[in-house]
Symmetry: D2
Subunit: 352 residues, 4 copies
Amino acid sequence: MKALVYEGPGRRSWKDVPDPVIQQPTDVLVRMIATTICGTDLHILHGDVPEVAPGRVLGHEGIGEITSVGTAVTELAVGDRVILSCVSACGRCANCRSGLPSHCSNPEGMPGIGWIFGYMIDGTQAEQVRVPFAENSVYKLPAGMTEAEGILLSDILPTGFEIGVQYGRVHPGDVVAVVGSGPVGLAAVMTARLYGPSKIVAVDLDPARLARAREFGATATVDSRDPDWKAQVLALTDGAGVDVAIEAVGLPVTFAMAVELVRPGGRVANVGVHGKPVELALNELWIRNITISMGLVNTNTLGMLMKLVATHVLPVDGFVTHTFDFDQVAEAYDVFEHAAEHDALKVLIHRT
Amino acid sequence: MKALVYEGPGRRSWKDVPDPVIQQPTDVLVRMIATTICGTDLHILHGDVPEVAPGRVLGHEGIGEITSVGTAVTELAVGDRVILSCVSACGRCANCRSGLPSHCSNPEGMPGIGWIFGYMIDGTQAEQVRVPFAENSVYKLPAGMTEAEGILLSDILPTGFEIGVQYGRVHPGDVVAVVGSGPVGLAAVMTARLYGPSKIVAVDLDPARLARAREFGATATVDSRDPDWKAQVLALTDGAGVDVAIEAVGLPVTFAMAVELVRPGGRVANVGVHGKPVELALNELWIRNITISMGLVNTNTLGMLMKLVATHVLPVDGFVTHTFDFDQVAEAYDVFEHAAEHDALKVLIHRT
Amino acid sequence: MKALVYEGPGRRSWKDVPDPVIQQPTDVLVRMIATTICGTDLHILHGDVPEVAPGRVLGHEGIGEITSVGTAVTELAVGDRVILSCVSACGRCANCRSGLPSHCSNPEGMPGIGWIFGYMIDGTQAEQVRVPFAENSVYKLPAGMTEAEGILLSDILPTGFEIGVQYGRVHPGDVVAVVGSGPVGLAAVMTARLYGPSKIVAVDLDPARLARAREFGATATVDSRDPDWKAQVLALTDGAGVDVAIEAVGLPVTFAMAVELVRPGGRVANVGVHGKPVELALNELWIRNITISMGLVNTNTLGMLMKLVATHVLPVDGFVTHTFDFDQVAEAYDVFEHAAEHDALKVLIHRT
Amino acid sequence: MKALVYEGPGRRSWKDVPDPVIQQPTDVLVRMIATTICGTDLHILHGDVPEVAPGRVLGHEGIGEITSVGTAVTELAVGDRVILSCVSACGRCANCRSGLPSHCSNPEGMPGIGWIFGYMIDGTQAEQVRVPFAENSVYKLPAGMTEAEGILLSDILPTGFEIGVQYGRVHPGDVVAVVGSGPVGLAAVMTARLYGPSKIVAVDLDPARLARAREFGATATVDSRDPDWKAQVLALTDGAGVDVAIEAVGLPVTFAMAVELVRPGGRVANVGVHGKPVELALNELWIRNITISMGLVNTNTLGMLMKLVATHVLPVDGFVTHTFDFDQVAEAYDVFEHAAEHDALKVLIHRT
């Protein structure tokens, strides 16, 4: 089969590799229908994730059709069309059973992380994929759901919802600020509505992204290049700050912005992937009764979000901005790497 | 009356000041029976809290007897013996009504902090005290409760429980580490038992304090001067870390220890009062699904803890190590400032 | 002033009564702008509530303008326009402080129920009202909010939300059934959306009410006169039942319907006011892991819902179907008592 | 092998049956070390559970040693000593994944109930047992744990804790009443302490059981034959009722007692298995803000409780009162059926 292979820092190629095979009774094989690219794939490609060895097939998102099932698989069958979770959950370990499959201590020799596709095992930017622990890690695609909808459920919608909205404990009536209007920030903007906030304020430095944030459900936007950006946000509250501040960038400055915005008793939910430590002014914050959360998605809500996408409670049509064939994966990467230039959000790469 | 007056950095005196008077219909006046000293009093005395002007009567903990009630007070009467909460709750503002009286936006010209005794208004290290918002800020002392028990309910027991144990979301079966075995750390150790942990590990650098931690309910102790202190704690878990790490010191190094100890999915509850920012390694932590909390006590649980002290479910006899008369308040401060030397925890200062 | 006085079973009159006066320092007097009628008023009028003595002014909902404040009132002023909660909360008793003002054990000689207007003290269907515990029991009307919006916040919206939606623990993705599409059922339908359900199914025997339920947010409706009504509801689920069934009628048959509809692990939230006991088939239900809740509204969410009405997140325009002057209160009662005939929901009675 | 076979209403025999075999890749076979008898076994034996066909091996509790593993089993090995959960969890279905394995919709042709041992498939009162979904349904016995400790974890301790204490939402400081001091009532009494109640009141009509309840952790006992039993319980509260009332009998009268005892805002947790419907006085209760829960155990807390038994936080030595060999199973049933006469709680039946 063909697959996108990491060849070392900065190098990738769409090339022939051996077909995957069933290795465990709980595996299934999937013929990929569509995949997409995540910011993490870029980090790996840039060599920032040394655990990933050259030769690894990239990608951890996708939908596909089952072509083979292991002997212990009873609830899935050849021909089922499924969404692959970016997290592989054994379903048996203490972490999986306590709702933390992001830290699944699974038996495939992994370092206690449920995210293994395109990282510790071959990933989804390929014609075929072996899916371990399939019955706990894939979801049947509802009839009528499009590729462009299904692909969002592998990672980005659950990440924005679980790590942003749920960890941030959004409650009805809350004012929520989302710092960063890239794909995951927009996923948080859109899914925040599931807890009935009174206002969702998108903060970004790119007017085009802010315009899009409004389409995705933001009730107000603030340009962070404005010197009074903070005052603009506070003016949307009672003056004390927002109830929940979601960080969806991954930089010290945006993390600091989120902390600055939150009211006493509020929550800062970090979704961004950070490359550097941050300073936390505990000397000022210890008295403010705030909570700071962070984490890798568990995709525990994938099935639930799938229902809301299927019934269009969540109108996710705007996420996929560009579509490519598998053979155009290089071009897809180029567009995604220069997203601002192409006004790109998510790129869909699919079988033709 | 006599009171302990802050005279500027490093200077205090027990001297005559005017008697307090009822200022608002919701006030009561209290003749103090007993008070105590908190680490925060020392910070103020050292001039670290510039909001406190010379002339302020210090102290925010205490029990006393009501000598006068405002015209709006219906549930309290002259002669009632009461515990004073360190937090004055108006009971009407949005923060009070949402369970956050620590950030009461009350009408006494305060900066949105419920703690005002010995800070924004005259405090409890005095023969008499004016208590604002009395019906939301005092609790009737149960029959049979001693001074040494009641005094702990003003601040230290609720602080350890609310900010350490509840914010840390201790669950049955959890392994809890408490970094720091001073008074508030021991309050966390003792009250952690209210959520049925399997193990409570006290971490400190003072063997005498660790011995005391065992008396207060720690099931294991680790001397943080040992190079392998971390390994010792992890050996008490499944290897992945503790479920809850409570920081009860207030230094960057102890905060870092708490963060290091916590397992994926775990909680770090900061109770310590910090004087400096800390570094937070978000580059490593973003993926670990931990939560970091902090805050000023609300004393929402004061009444509940009072019941548990009264029924000896919480055996708090060991907290008060030294007792003084009001006239010996200078000596009490000396002992408390050199607590290690005197093997002191809480000092009781009372009317004779 | 004029007020609607209960004269004994079946008899009421709009007549002159003495003006109310401030009785406690925490009271305010309010000149009523608008009030409305609740099903409970009809029960009282029919003599079903023997605690209500003849001479009592009826009504527990309303908005008005403050004309006088007690000496302990600091946050409200003459001229403030306010929404009156149907629940009078002293804000000091253990129940109020634990979020249960519906069972406020307040000091006005009441039987431990926070609802006292038009029941234990004179109510709101009057030109003027004395409001006890005003600072914990009224909310300033936001600029721009109409009478027809504000009036809903006294009781019906918080009741549908707190006792139906929150006690029923609606979660994102849930299928919610609401049995009964009268005013309170519609309040539950509308506010259920604040927790992101995938489907809201209204069940009623009146097609006109079902049509209205769709306007208020129901995504499906089922006519309970159809023999296969239950199958119709289950067809909207995975077959196992709804996640949450809200009973908003108050009859044994509708309660039984709600219990029948709920899935294992689901919640039955009773909102209806019942006049008879019901049978609970514990012999079949003990194994089904369901929860049954019930209660009087606390109006803890009144302020929050007010924000959502003000920002039109909750579009409540459809609730008030008829408007009357105070002098037409008799006519208003006639319409409300024969609601189906008049296609009436809530009737607004206001000062002209 | 030998096993206890249900031969039709009132008839059982310890006799030779075919050895079990691995049927699914996720199965293990277990050589039983110990089992016990539950009240449900008696119901089945009396013919009250018509789904159970003659020929069925009884029993759903036990510990044993693994003798064979299916091809998909990776975390368990021959020789492992394990505790069997009474609930068989596939770990994959929506109910299992949402924490409700009690309603596992598993693929063994069962009616959507996780409890299948001794009911839909052959059970644990046998020399050998086939365990389906083994990796989600057994727990490795900790070193040093006795048979008499381990056997309690299959059902009774998790049932008392999950369905009584957790569903009843016991909080620190609560007053908890447990109606019925049989084995499951005592399990609730003992595990209630994990949430720090101020008082645990055992209510029963048998003084011997009440004496035992004190040994298991009840802080007070009330003989329900006393005409003023209710007043005695209320005297242990502030007069308004208990916070949590746990029903652990399964009769209309005891359910009514639990409902009578609970305070406004409180919770009734039904643990008893009922044979008849009950009357629920919704006409009085609708206004009381109580919650009524019920259900089959999920054993989600089995692993957690195992840690607390292993560390003796839960001192469960008193539960097993009688011990028998497998060959004495008939005698064990006789003792358990006449428990009061023999002062019996749990009977241990083990391999010799």
